[in-house]
Subunit: 186 residues, 2 copies
DNA sequence: TCCGACATGTAACTGGTTACATGATTTG
DNA sequence: CAAATCATGTAACCAGTTACATGTCGGA
């Protein structure tokens, strides 16, 4: 695939950045749907520059420290646009250790299974809170500014996902409880 | 992490299997939340056997063809149970090329963005149909049999996820349409 | 007799993480 | 002056995919 290159091109299309800046973007604005460490970003920038999709000028911060300010080239913009217009397949089913655990949970006591579910629920609720907090950062909802608008859409997606995870976990907990009650019944 | 080993141990805990059988299980019952190709499974079985978590006896199918029937050892069961009882972290945010595309979609025409969203929606709806069809395979809902019960729970999770994806995409489409209407308004 | 399923493995490569390595600048 | 942050890179490793490689068995 090589999706990382488009993530970088997309960011550089918004504004010129250093590898360090890009790394921070992956940690913040993109973190909901893509990630990359600096150890992956710097080599990628190098090959991108070699292929003339980006270019850089070396700047001096302070007295000595060099930094490379990267910008997207016209050729890079063309490549980005081509990708941006294409249909993509739905994301491959993500691996989920908890679901695997749940799938095999017939080998542990019913009460313990419920505890596992509750623990998972708590973690998702916490994350959901964090996402809802991010929602308050927009001054209008939905935001009017174009760049903020796509931020908003993907944030909605993240919130949506967490909410549905919580719903599912609650359903599971209830089903397990019912089941446990029935068993102790007989 | 090394989660693959627990997936294999979990399956072998249900019944003895060959590497070939395991491969099929990953393609079917586990496919919603874990995957592995035979090229990964066979080496893993080898190391698992070396560590005495599983053992195998060689059987002959027909006249010559050898197959290795693997079974979990007591030690393997202990290891599996230990994993099964532990709290796991929520799955790492899965990479999602479509969300990345949407995030950068301010560089393409509004109508085209809507087309991308609609295409994604169609794909998710198709998959959802498939999952709902799987739901009809249980004779009672929720099923009473213990092994079927956890199948059922994870299937609910998958359906839940697809439904919420569809909801989100519909929301996005509506927001984009509204936005487009407003713009042509001025 | 041919084809699809059964059956098992290895090799090369890709994407990504963790750790190694270094050093400058700013701020408290 | 110490600590956090800025800044850039490489190396070793791990999980996973694709391709290579081989051969048997059962049924149409």
């Amino acid at each position: 695939m090589g999706v990382l290159r488009y993530a970088i091109l997309g960011l550089l299309n918004r504004q010129d950045m250093t590898g360090y800046d890009l790394t921070k973007e992956f940690q913040t604005s993109l973190s909901e749907f893509w990630s990359a460490k600096h150890s992956q970003i710097y080599p990628e920038l190098k090959t991108l520059a070699e292929n003339h999709l980006v270019e850089f000028k070396t700047e001096i911060t302070g007295n000595v420290l060099e930094k490379k300010l990267y910008s997207i080239t016209e050729f890079g913009k063309k490549e980005l646009l081509e990708w941006a217009e294409n249909y993509t397949k739905i994301p491959p089913l993500p691996k989920d250790e908890f679901k695997l655990q749940l799938f095999f949970s017939d080998c542990i006591p019913a009460q313990q299974r419920i505890q596992l579910l509750k623990n998972q629920l708590e973690q998702h609720q916490k994350w959901l809170e964090h996402l809802n907090h991010n929602l308050t950062k927009f001054d209008t909802v939905p935001p009017t500014k174009e760049s903020e608008f796509s931020d908003y859409l993907v944030l909605l997606g993240a919130i949506n996902r967490e909410e549905s995870s919580c719903n599912w976990l609650n359903t599971c907990i209830n089903l397990c409880k019912k089941r446990a009650a029935k068993k102790s019944d007989t």
